[in-house]
Symmetry: C2
Subunit: 465 residues, 2 copies
């Protein structure tokens, strides 16, 4: 949908850091969206003022209820609106009169089902009263630092991620909630979550402008179906990627996918090739799948940028070392040559069974000391830009002391170092430990090497930008 | 390494279904391989006779110990040898004299470290005494039905998969153990596991011959570094894929990977393009990564072959529906057109919010009844060859009753049906339930559609073979 002209960008601060929040459509019924939202605010420990608005009851979840936003005598920074679409214009008008600074319209039933006029009406109201309006047809926002959480999904079904550096921007609520849940599963942390739905007013451009300056945001991840203001988007994206990486997954890459996207959020997917070319030109990481998006976010969140593309592989499993060597080359990286000094050092400390060449196969009985020494020596080699440590916890030698040793090594290392550890329950325990310690862990060679390649590619882009 | 000429293939039956097993190099020290192997036999509940062989002690783990294999008066079907390489020839010679039918040589230190002569010696001994010898430098075999388990890896580090239809053949012990662990994590079952290491005697050809006839094996998965007898391999593979699918992951796809493979199991990786062309010609599924290998194994294990490549998508998340539509086309499948009859039926039962088109977006409040009805109606459409059901358990409507309903629908369905459910703890619980119920669940659209494509591709191959 083409947006009306705008003279300036919208500030998202009242949306993401409000001192007071009204939930309009708050409900006593635990199955209602307006109940779950209120409950989540309480559960999250939101420290600002919370005003439930409902014209049929006096208290909800122990909080005094207001008949209308106009009855609240205090200043409201954010109104979360969870009411049927037809009454949203009237509610938003009242918000305007009450001086509310920002609003999240959770409700669906607008342009995505053909009600374009209704959507245009709320945009006009938002403009008239200068309300920073997000949505409609969206999940809203989440910020684990300010404990803002407008999501109407209960925490037992959707784990909330911990505090971190990844900001995630999603047009789709479903994709957004899935990825939030996956982010918490993968163990990395969130800066901001913004689900903007139909993008009727606040859109990708406003959001990028905000996140560019947001000091908590280290990497921006976007799920996009269509872009309202293509030219402005490219302008701001170009500025952003000079500072921090953007990872994008663009739905509607195929003709049929584009048609499905239109039916979903009324997005005009536009020419995918044009988008992709622009994304590439401005240094974006393009994820082809949800899993790639997570892999890339994880590495950008925890790693420094590498100097070059020369990788060293250290492994306690020969076959996985071979597969990873293949994956290194297939991803556009290269296996480095160890310097003679490194080789001599390794010979001093490695048992005779260890062949001093890359991939460095430490053998199945490799323990903490062997891993530690190998990582120590190899990481200091000037020929090494990045390290992959394959730790197969099924082997006799590897246990949690290896995981702990790798975390310690990582703490004092400038170069990117990642771990490949595929496996079941025992391995998953080690993985959780290593990821909590800031070490990205991957389940497969390709996932690891593609992620390292993206890190390298962005480093090169930034150097030349 | 080029194998000496052979007149006939080796029978693997005594290896995989032995009535009696000797563990040569059994040890009282829990850190020793020979201890772990014995312990695992006891833990697995192996019902045959078990003979620890150790010349320094009288009992191990409560079992009477024999000084030498020659001291055992009963017939031994399988000897597991876990002793240093230099004494293996003597031990194997004794096994021959004792009439042992098969042997697993776990020990490393042969061709993979340059000791080609030592390896040739044990092959000559195996031939002389007609011992079906597996290895050296291997993990050996596992069969959850006969409870044979020669793996020297403790069960707390490596979960053993349940009984099922996937046979997994691995040259590399490390890759083998990792995949076993991943198979048990993914919840599908194992027929046979064979890790053959240096392939000095028993090789891929013998193993394929055996698994072709094995009634428990529904799908064969292979990790290959190099192939000894290329011509014979192709001959047998051609016969196998007419009956059951083979999924292969070939290490050494790149020049550097091939060099690493040679250093690992002394395998001559050969010309990768030649292999790949042959694999394609004979209907193999070629996995590019460990994760693809698992995805493909899972779908072949639990699904019938489809009639065609027309997919229907049912979803409770619009964005994920769009991404999956893209993935369908990118994988070489096509989104089908629903028949008018199907559309009319759906209109009767779906609420107005549901747009009657594919991907069929049931909306975020879709519950058990809506999913059930949609799957029921859509699966009966003659235009539908395969079903993808996207169930996002983060949404308000989806809970374990949806998972249970999908399992029931699947039980009575001839057509392949798979589920996409990415997410954290709550989703993982539903996933475990659905997979136990025979429904393959994928974490991402691409993983799902690539797997469906492999199923379709093999169905076409088999039809024309």
């Amino acid at each position: 949908m083409k947006q009306t002209e705008r003279t300036k960008d919208i500030d998202l601060t009242p949306l993401l850091n409000p001192k007071s929040v009204a939930v309009i459509g708050a409900s006593r019924d635990p199955d209602k969206v307006g109940h779950v939202i209120l409950q989540n605010y309480i559960d999250a420990g939101y420290s600002g003022k919370l005003f439930p608005v409902n014209n049929k009851t006096d208290t909800i979840l122990g909080l005094r209820t207001y008949k209308s936003i106009l009855d609240i005598k205090e200043k409201v920074d954010l109104a979360v609106i969870a009411l049927p679409a037809p009454i949203v214009p009237q509610i938003l008008e009242e918000c305007g009169k009450a001086g509310v600074k920002s609003a999240v319209v959770v409700s669906g039933g607008f342009a995505e089902v053909g009600n374009v006029d209704l959507q245009n009406r709320i945009v006009e109201i938002a403009k008239k009263y200068r309300i920073a309006m997000l949505g409609p047809n969206c999940l809203g926002v989440m910020d684990p630092r300010t404990r803002i959480d407008t999501l109407f999904l209960p925490t037992y079904k959707l784990n909330r991620p911990k505090v971190g550096g990844v900001s995630f921007v999603s047009q789709s609520g479903a994709v957004g909630s899935t990825i939030l849940d996956l982010i918490s599963k993968e163990g990395f942390g969130l800066a901001k979550f913004i689900s903007y739905g139909n993008a009727a007013y606040i859109d990708e451009v406003d959001i990028l402008n905000y996140l560019m300056k947001d000091k908590d945001t280290k990497v921006i991840v976007m799920y996009i179906e269509g872009i309202n203001r293509g030219k402005e988007f490219i302008e701001v994206a170009k500025k952003v990627t000079k500072i921090k990486p953007i990872i994008v997954i663009k739905a509607g890459a195929t003709e049929m996918g584009a048609a499905a996207a239109h039916s979903h959020t009324a997005a005009l997917a536009g020419n995918h090739e044009v988008y992709e070319a622009a994304f590439r030109q401005f240094g974006f990481s393009i994820a082809k799948d949800l899993s790639e998006l997570l892999y890339y976010a994880k590495i950008f969140d925890s790693e420094n940028l590498p100097e070059g593309n020369r990788v060293a592989i250290i492994t306690n499993g020969g076959g996985t070392g071979v597969l990873t060597t293949d994956a290194v080359y297939e991803s556009g990286l290269t296996l480095t040559q160890l310097s003679d000094e490194t080789k001599n050092e390794l010979k001093k400390y490695m048992p005779p069974i260890v062949n001093i060449r890359l991939p460095l196969d430490l053998a199945g009985d490799a323990d903490k000391e062997r891993f530690e020494k190998a990582v120590d020596i190899v990481s200091k080699d000037p020929n090494v830009d990045m390290l992959i440590v394959i730790t197969l916890f099924q082997t006799p030698g590897a246990d949690s002391s290896v995981a702990a040793a790798l975390i310690h090594k990582k703490e004092n290392m400038e170069k990117p170092m990642i771990v490949i550890s595929p496996g079941g329950d025992y391995t998953q325990m080690q993985k959780i430990m290593m990821e909590s310690g800031g070490l990205p862990v991957y389940d497969s060679p390709m996932a690891a090497t593609k992620s390292l390649y993206e890190l390298y590619r962005y480093a090169q882009y930034k150097k030349n930008a």
